[in-house]
């Protein structure tokens, strides 16, 4: 039974950029739903639409019974540093206008449930990351929300702490004491999604590109063949999105993935060490990388023709091998040629600088161009990536004082 339903939800921000297109989704009673996607896929915006924090531009979000309460857990905890653990947990109860005694009692219960006993009077800055996120959970759960919405709740924690907290959350979920009827989490970690969720929705470019159920019993074993099969299936789906985008060729249509030359070199090197062929899943696991960290590198490498992606497999190309084997000046010129040929933004910048009289152009010129298609942080990031690539390829450099891109001779 659906707790939250979105009907044809569309969201566009100022300018013409659309982050959600016609999304129809249900958060159902008794399920754990995971929203997966690369950065910029709209997953966080979708979660905020479910929470009522973002107003959709089109379509609608309905709650069962209209009075549904939702709790929210944030990536960076969003605790008020000047309030103690107990005061943080009580804040939502005060917003409800409950009397002091009841606030105390309910906060104590939530603190007990989430394993924060003894820390009631501590301030957030005295706690470790894991304990802080526990406060985040207690603050959301104390309101006994029908649905608990989580925005990458474990991604600011180190691997071990995250694993531990995930495990505890899932055992609470299966216990009778847990006060919420459904959970929905945004993550960029495929394994995390498969380990926790009953249902996974993959978003690409603002649309639902894949929806699948995870029929595995809990607790789940990551080495289980069925588990890795699902992970590979999702990887293939995410990489498929990349290839579908490839036939257009302007800076606005083909954004530069946020990958540094150093990161690319590391990826190719690692691939070479694996004999030129490996699957993404084990590569990500070996590096403890999540989708957001690994996929831009893979996207960039395949954009430049240094690797090829086949399903969830990654293969080094001839050009990739040349780049790997070459001495530094040759490697630079190989890279420069590839970047001009296949990265539209790099080509546009190099062309514009060559045709300008002084060989210098303000960065604002290119930012303005990018801003017509991307939000500010994306525009900045793409220009930074292009500058990184251009510098390495000795195509152009950046004068940070004058804020000008400068043609290299």
């Amino acid at each position: 039974m659906a707790l939250i339903t979105t009907e044809n939800v569309t969201k566009s921000f100022t300018g013409s950029r659309t982050v959600l297109r016609d999304v129809c989704l249900e958060v159902r009673e008794g399920e754990v739903l995971a929203l997966l996607g690369k950065s910029g896929s709209g997953k966080s915006t979708l979660l905020r639409t479910l929470a009522g924090l973002v107003e959709p531009s089109g379509g609608r979000v309905t709650y069962r019974g209209n009075t549904l309460s939702v709790g929210m857990v944030f990536q960076n905890f969003a605790l008020l540093p000047w309030l103690t653990v107990r005061e943080n947990v009580e804040l939502g109860l005060r917003a409800k206008g409950l009397p002091v005694a009841e606030r105390r009692r309910r906060a104590a219960e939530a603190i007990d449930l989430i394993g924060l006993d003894g820390f009631e009077t501590a301030y957030p800055k005295e706690l470790s990351g894991g304990m802080r996120q526990r406060v985040g959970f207690a603050r959301a759960l104390v309101l006994e929300p029908d649905a608990l919405l989580m925005d990458e709740p474990f991604s600011a924690l180190d691997v071990l702490t995250a694993e531990n907290l995930r495990g505890e959350l899932m055992s609470l979920w299966t216990s009778a004491r847990f006060p919420t009827k459904a959970m929905c989490l945004v993550t960029h970690n495929i394994e995390e999604a498969v380990a926790m969720a009953d249902r996974i929705v993959v978003l690409g470019d603002g649309r639902i590109s894949l929806e699948l159920t995870v029929p595995l019993a809990r607790p789940r074993d990551r080495r289980n063949a069925a588990f890795t099969a699902i992970v590979d299936q999702i990887y293939t789906a995410l990489m498929g999105q990349t290839r579908a985008e490839v036939d257009h060729d302007t800076p606005l249509r083909r954004p530069l993935p946020p990958a540094t030359v150093g990161g690319l070199a590391g990826l190719i090197e690692l691939l070479g060490a694996h004999g030129g062929r490996t699957d993404l899943h084990s590569l990500a696991a070996a590096l403890t990388f999540a989708v957001d960290d690994l996929l831009p590198l893979v996207d960039a490498a395949s954009l430049l023709g240094l690797v090829e992606v086949a399903g969830a497999e990654l293969l080094i190309t001839g050009a990739g091998e040349d780049w790997l084997a070459a001495d530094i000046p040759t490697a630079k010129s190989i890279f420069a040629r590839r970047a001009v040929a296949s990265a539209p933004l790099v080509r546009v910048i190099a062309d514009a600088l060559r045709t300008s009289r002084s060989g210098r152009l303000r960065d604002e010129f290119f930012l303005d161009l990018l801003r017509t298609g991307f939000p500010e942080p994306d525009a900045q990031r793409q220009l930074a990536t292009a500058v990184d690539w251009g510098r390495y390829g000795e195509l152009f450099s950046f004068d940070a004082v004058a804020r000008e891109l400068v043609l290299e001779e």
Binding site: R48, L53, M72, N76, P81, L91, Y123, K125, R139, A400
Partner: protein
Amino acid sequence: MLVDIAVAVGVCVLLWSVVRVGSGTLAPLPVETAVELDPAALPGYAGRSLLRMFAALALSLLFSLVVGGLAAKSRRAEKIIIPVLDILQSVPVLAYLSVTVTAFIALFPGSTLGLEAASVFAIFTSQAWNLTFAFYQSLVTQSAELDEAARALRLTRWQRFRELDVPGSMIPLVWNGTMSFGGGWFFLVQSEAISVLNQKFALPGIGSYVAAASAAERTDLLLLAIGAMVIMVVAVNVLFWRPLTAWAERFRLEQSEAAHAPRSMVLDLLRRSRLPGLAGRALRPMGEGIDRAARVFGRTGARRALASRERSTLLTVLTVVGLWLIADYVSATTGWPEVLHTISLGLITLSRVLVVVLASALVWVPIGVWIGMNPRVSRLAQPVVQVLASFPANFLFPFAAALFLVWHVGLGWGGILLMSLGAQWYVLFNVIAGASAIPSDLREAATNLRLKRWQRWRFLVLPAIFPAFVTGALTAAGGAWNASIVAEVITYGSARMEAPGLGAYITNATELGDMPRVFVGVVVMSAFVVGVNRLFWRRLHRLSEHYALQ
């Protein structure tokens, strides 16, 4: 750009209407001008002055919370408020002191209440813009997650203000409060004794005491007043600002403890006593009551309203009308040659300001760097410099005047000295802060690379302190413009010295009650300050951001 011009014109029109209203209703007033010179009266006077300072601080805080909050929450309000504040911040407070005094006297005819209000208002104008910017800045840079958390928890507007907005801005508010309160003493002293329309007004207070002592040529009483002033400045720092700064540390947003958290013995003492806890417990039911009562204001919404379309035609029309009004007023009263005359006087004063800034840089940068790079010295020096920076330099003017008279120093050069008396400390203060923030690994690297002394300065020290120096020099220049109004004309007893300049022009016009000339002088001076800020300081500031040590 249009908005900026419109705002500038709007401020001028406001000033103009105050001048019109003020000059129309001003009649000789029976206001008590007698200030007792008896030293026994001094503590009482000091107390009244202190009261004015805190009244102004409270008003400034209230203003900044309301106006800064409004600017941060509404795009439409922001478009007007921010440029207005930007201009008001650069307009020398003393330049329009006389205008506001006349207006307030007209508002409360026949009582000293007008003078009180004018004095508090003068201090207020030296603090409020600063604090408002601080609150606005910290609201618009508030983390998106905290904003969303407040909305997801469905906090009421009041709860959000109390639990998120104000605590999150506490550190910048306290820091700016400390700085502007220090600067406020200068305006307190000036506003307590002022002559407008050939009439001398005096409010009982430490500033008017000094004025009276100076008129009576009583050096001993001047020294006494200076002693009282030092005690007051130090006491307010130790008993009020220092504990407040240390207390505000708990509102630091970084999730880890600061390495060099400021400490205060007074605060430690308060924390050890049981009284604050008892008071807190007694007040808690009241807090709950306010919490409940404030529910009527509703729940917190999105941080920003949507951008509204700019009504540029209306704005253009208003700007043109405003310009026409001003032009009409000027040509009907002083005439345009007078404007040219004030501009040439402005250039003279500008050159004095430049000399002050350059000389302060030459003297205080090396000394400031030396102090800042020696932690032991800077721990001792920093509070002393802070007191020097807050000590109102105009307190010393009568002394300086006496010395100038004895040594036959002209006010052309002497004025520069007087202007720098208050302004230079901002340079020193900021350079010390900048130098002490140079990371030790950078210094070690410089030593390891065997940089020569000049190379060390060229590549490490000067770039590292550049942003702090720019901030200090900008503040010093602002202070110098303000000081020019009192430093280009000084009196001691019956002797009077004067140097040509825009400051002297404004002072003279004020004493004669020549309101059109006051108006022209104030507008021209403001235009100078705003123009130099836009053309010079703003660029320097942007350049300095490049040198920021993270």
